[in-house]
């Protein structure tokens, strides 16, 4: 059975003024796998995810998801978690959930309840009173409570303490349905997450440096992805 392609980019270019953030990336990502998007700061990871989420538009090239150009229809099937704090700080945890639930077509209230309990979030607390780690947990609940085809997670572990990181990774694994959900997770902290990646894309200066099956990469080079990451970006 041929693999169904979920994400296809053709020669995408994105510039910020004179800086070329993405420089002609061509990639095909099949349905139902976990992809690690790794690279140092400024390599274009966030920009790439934003282009898939439809919050940035390419200057050249095309992005399709499920064969459709990025737009309202694809946004209905894509759940995006930006790296920055994007939750309205005057809302309570429950208000954040209610807000998102009414604006997306695929909200799973049961899944949200499970994650809220697992991640020890208090529904009555305002976002502005949550610690950074707790806000990261809440962002994850908002993103993963959807029944989307594609989950885009931009640095979900960035600046988070080790216990929170562990819980976030466990939450990711617990909700993932192999073959149905596709996750693209960007990170420059590879050691903790490399175990969940099936495919790895190394980005550097807006271009793909390595794009390979994670397991094959480990066997070929006889070392962990973290080891390779350090070697590639030395």
């Amino acid at each position: 059975m041929p693999t169904e392609i979920l994400v296809r980019t053709q020669g995408i270019v994105k510039r910020y003024g004179r800086t070329q953030a993405i420089n002609g990336i061509e990639v095909e990502i099949p349905k139902g796998i976990v992809v690690g998007l790794v690279g140092p700061n400024g390599s274009g990871k966030s920009t790439f995810l934003k282009l898939l989420a439809g919050v940035l538009r390419p200057d050249a090239g095309t992005v399709t998801i499920n064969g459709l150009p990025v737009g309202i229809k694809t946004k209905a099937r894509v759940s995006y978690q930006p790296e920055i704090d994007c939750l309205y700080d005057w809302m309570t945890v429950q208000q954040v959930l209610d807000f998102t639930a009414t604006l997306v077509p695929d909200w799973r209230p049961k899944r949200a309840d499970e994650m809220i309990a697992f991640l020890n979030l208090d529904r009555g607390v305002k976002v502005r009173h949550l610690s950074k780690g707790m806000r990261a947990r809440l962002k994850l609940v908002v993103t993963l409570s959807r029944d989307a085809d594609l989950f885009l997670l931009d640095e979900p572990l960035s600046g988070i303490d080790p216990p929170s990181r562990l819980r976030i990774i466990k939450t990711l694994i617990s909700g993932y349905e192999a073959g149905r959900h596709t996750i693209i997770l960007s990170t420059h902290e590879v050691a903790e997450t490399e175990g969940i990646f099936e495919r790895i894309i190394f980005l550097d200066k807006g271009q793909i440096k390595v794009d390979a099956d994670a397991q094959e990469l480990r066997s070929q080079h006889g070392r962990s992805i973290q080891g390779l990451f350090e070697e590639v970006y030395q």
């Binding site: 910020y16 003024g17 309202i72 894509v78 604006l103």
Partner: protein
């Protein structure tokens, strides 16, 4: 319109502090002048109570911008642009939130104005408008209906100007977000272009809708003095002159406003970035 309520609530919250500050400010301002009546000439106390109506319009421009600026300030724009929602719904929620705040402050300003005006009329100074209005109400049906009509139409026209102001400035702000630099100049330029376009729509409307009946505004001639009880109020008919306003131009302008609103929605959905 699933989710509209949530978007509206969020946008109203983003400008709630501004709404409350202005509302309290207006009440304090009116209270101050209320306490001056009797010490100052009634006209001197009442005329400044008109000022909030001007301030509200200025505040409206700030709120029209703030309701969008807030999204970029808080990072909420990442969430908003990633949602599978049409840009027109997002823009409509913001428009509705700003207009709600505008209407509330307009009510507060009107209440304050009538409150001070009424107190002023109790004194023997030169201001008799409130007394005149009350006398007209009880003694001359024609005069009272004219007073009420003119007051309601003025309020409605003022409110419509508010709607137009919000629609224009929301597009102006979104246009300024299209560039990373010189945003103020881009916004300023887009403001003039939008004004020109709305004017152009009015001109087109003049030719396209020639058969729509003109609007008739009856302007009072010497009305206040004729209504004054000193001049024999009960018998006084309201003397008015007619001003005709071409409805085609107004209709063209209104369609121009709708176009401006749709362009804002289009930018949100298809062009704007985080």
């Amino acid at each position: 319109m699933r989710g509209f309520g949530q978007l509206f609530k969020k946008d109203l919250e983003s400008i709630s502090l501004m709404t409350v500050i202005l509302g309290i400010g207006i009440l304090l301002w009116d209270t101050y002048f209320y306490t001056r009546i009797g010490e100052w000439k009634a006209e001197v106390a009442i005329i400044p109570t008109m000022l909030p109506f001007g301030v509200i319009m200025f505040w409206l421009v700030l709120q029209a911008i703030q309701v969008y600026r807030h999204e970029w300030q808080t990072g909420g724009i990442h969430l908003l642009l990633a949602l599978p929602q049409p840009g027109s719904k997002i823009a409509l929620a913001k428009l509705a939130a700003v207009l709600t705040s505008f209407t509330l402050n307009l009510l507060v300003a009107t209440f304050g104005f009538v409150w001070v005006l009424r107190a002023g009329s109790l004194h023997s100074g030169g201001v008799r408008l409130f007394n005149v209005a009350m006398e007209a109400f009880f003694q001359s049906r024609e005069a009272s209906s004219w007073l009420i009509k003119i007051a309601l139409w003025s309020a409605f026209a003022y409110w419509l100007i508010g709607v137009g102001t919000v629609v224009i400035f929301q597009l102006v702000y979104n246009c300024s977000r299209l560039t990373a630099r010189l945003r103020f100049l881009v916004g300023l330029a887009s403001f003039f272009v939008i004004q020109w376009l709305i004017g152009l729509c009015g001109s087109i409307g003049y030719y396209v809708f020639p058969r729509v009946p003109d609007l008739v505004i009856r302007v009072p001639i010497d009305t206040l003095s004729r209504l004054d009880s000193a001049y024999g109020m009960a018998q006084a008919p309201v003397q008015t002159a007619k001003i005709l306003i071409n409805s085609g131009i107004l209709l063209g302008n209104a369609l121009g406003m709708v176009l401006v609103f749709l362009v804002t929605g289009y930018l949100l959905q298809n062009v704007l970035e985080v």
